[in-house]
């Protein structure tokens, strides 16, 4: 049944070469944990991507109940966690995934560093990787404010004060982030929400695409 459907589409659109080009590659021996167990370090990039997919999916579902408004944000998070079926699980995926994705991207970066994979010709992909790291940290920072509890509020105060300590432009960065020169409130929450669910995910997807296209072009780096 499925095979027939596939053949019907393939006959008309010739889709086989497309997915072969993306998916059909031999795994080199030096990155295959079945050959050398220590090759598991090559899994961290894939694991980072896997958790990023979970973050995007669980985040999309959370947005069905969450409201970025100071009167209702905390209430809506409380409601979605305690009153909606599986709310604890879906919020839990996003909450724990947010920490895990940082751990994974860090381990992936260490692997690339210690295998020297950032060297010529892969310098550009290292640069994109550092930007991805920045975007993920940005998502973590902006997401952390959204539950609008005490921890979120004061963590963001501290974060914004750190940004404000930048010489010369610090004060402007602070106002740009908080949306007000003195208050961390209504406008901060809406900004952080917009950045968290639109701006940074868009940047993340663009950078991921660049990252993967470069990997396809250059292949995985050779054995040590």
């Amino acid at each position: 049944m499925l095979n027939k459907l596939y053949d019907w589409v393939d006959e008309r659109l010739d889709i086989t070469p497309i997915w072969r080009d993306i998916a059909d590659h031999e795994v080199p021996e030096h990155v295959n944990p079945a050959h050398h167990f220590s090759a598991f370090v090559y899994c961290f990039g894939g694991l980072t991507f896997f958790i990023t997919v979970i973050q995007i999916l669980s985040g999309m579902f959370l947005t069905m109940y969450y409201v970025p408004d100071i009167e209702n944000a905390w209430q809506s998070v409380y409601y979605l966690q305690n009153e909606v079926a599986f709310g604890e699980i879906v919020r839990g995926m996003h909450h724990w995934g947010a920490s895990l994705v940082v751990v994974m991207i860090f381990l992936h970066t260490l692997r690339v560093f210690f295998t020297g994979s950032y060297k010529k010709p892969r310098e550009l992909n290292w640069v994109v990787g550092v930007m991805l790291f920045g975007v993920i940290l940005g998502l973590s920072f902006t997401g952390y404010l959204l539950p609008w509890d005490m921890k979120a509020l004061f963590a963001t105060k501290v974060g914004i004060e750190i940004a404000a300590s930048v010489p010369v432009i610090g004060e402007s960065i602070k106002i740009l982030l908080a949306g007000d020169s003195t208050i961390l409130g209504a406008q901060t929450l809406t900004r952080f929400f917009a950045i968290h669910v639109f701006f940074l995910p868009a940047a993340l997807l663009g950078l991921l695409a660049a990252h993967f296209i470069m990997i396809r072009r250059q292949g995985i780096s050779g054995p040590l």
Binding site: I54, L57, S58, F61, N72, Q75, V84, F86, M93
Partner: protein, 167 residues
């Protein structure tokens, strides 16, 4: 051993699809159940709400009776006001919902001067008899809903809404 042996490639294909499908389902099931929760939530029927309309003042002519109650909308609780068209049939109190059964506008008693003994919906000129029966040839497809209603110490109390029992 049968003749069509499962090759190593087939075996790995089946196993990986199975395990992968199981993992994907484990991820997606909670999220989908979370999203469809509003469909599956139970709603208990509302309590009777006391109005300040004296039962003694109700006649055979429908009058609009407003009633306010606390509405819990997920994390937002607020006081909302609804209304009912209340009249007496003999000694029996009757309360009809003002929500038009065409597309949900609000009907008025005698809203159309040409039909002073009918309910009238201004949106698409839907009309109903006094007992809520929709008039054939106008847009509504069913009769107006009915509220449970009772006399509580001389005042009208309005309860849950249900299908019309008069027509």
């Amino acid at each position: 051993m049968s003749n069509n042996r499962v090759s190593r490639r087939q075996f790995l294909g089946y196993t990986l699809t199975g395990v992968g499908g199981f993992m994907a389902a484990g991820m997606l099931m909670p999220m989908v159940r979370f999203a469809v929760d509003p469909i599956l939530q139970q709603h208990e029927g509302g309590d009777f709400v006391l109005t300040d309309q004296a039962v003694a003042d109700i006649t055979e002519e429908p009058v609009r009776v407003d009633f306010a109650f606390e509405q819990v909308d997920a994390w937002y609780t607020s006081e909302v006001t609804n209304s009912a068209w209340v009249y007496k049939e003999g000694d029996k109190l009757i309360a009809l919902s003002p929500v038009c059964k065409h597309l949900g506008c609000t009907v008025n008693w005698a809203g159309d001067t040409e039909n002073p003994t009918q309910f009238f919906c201004p949106c698409h000129a839907g009309r109903y008899e006094k007992n809520g029966q929709n008039i054939a040839g106008t847009p509504p497809l069913g009769p107006l809903d009915e509220y449970e209603v009772r006399d509580q110490d001389g005042f009208v109390a309005i309860g849950a809404v249900r299908d019309n029992t008069l027509v």
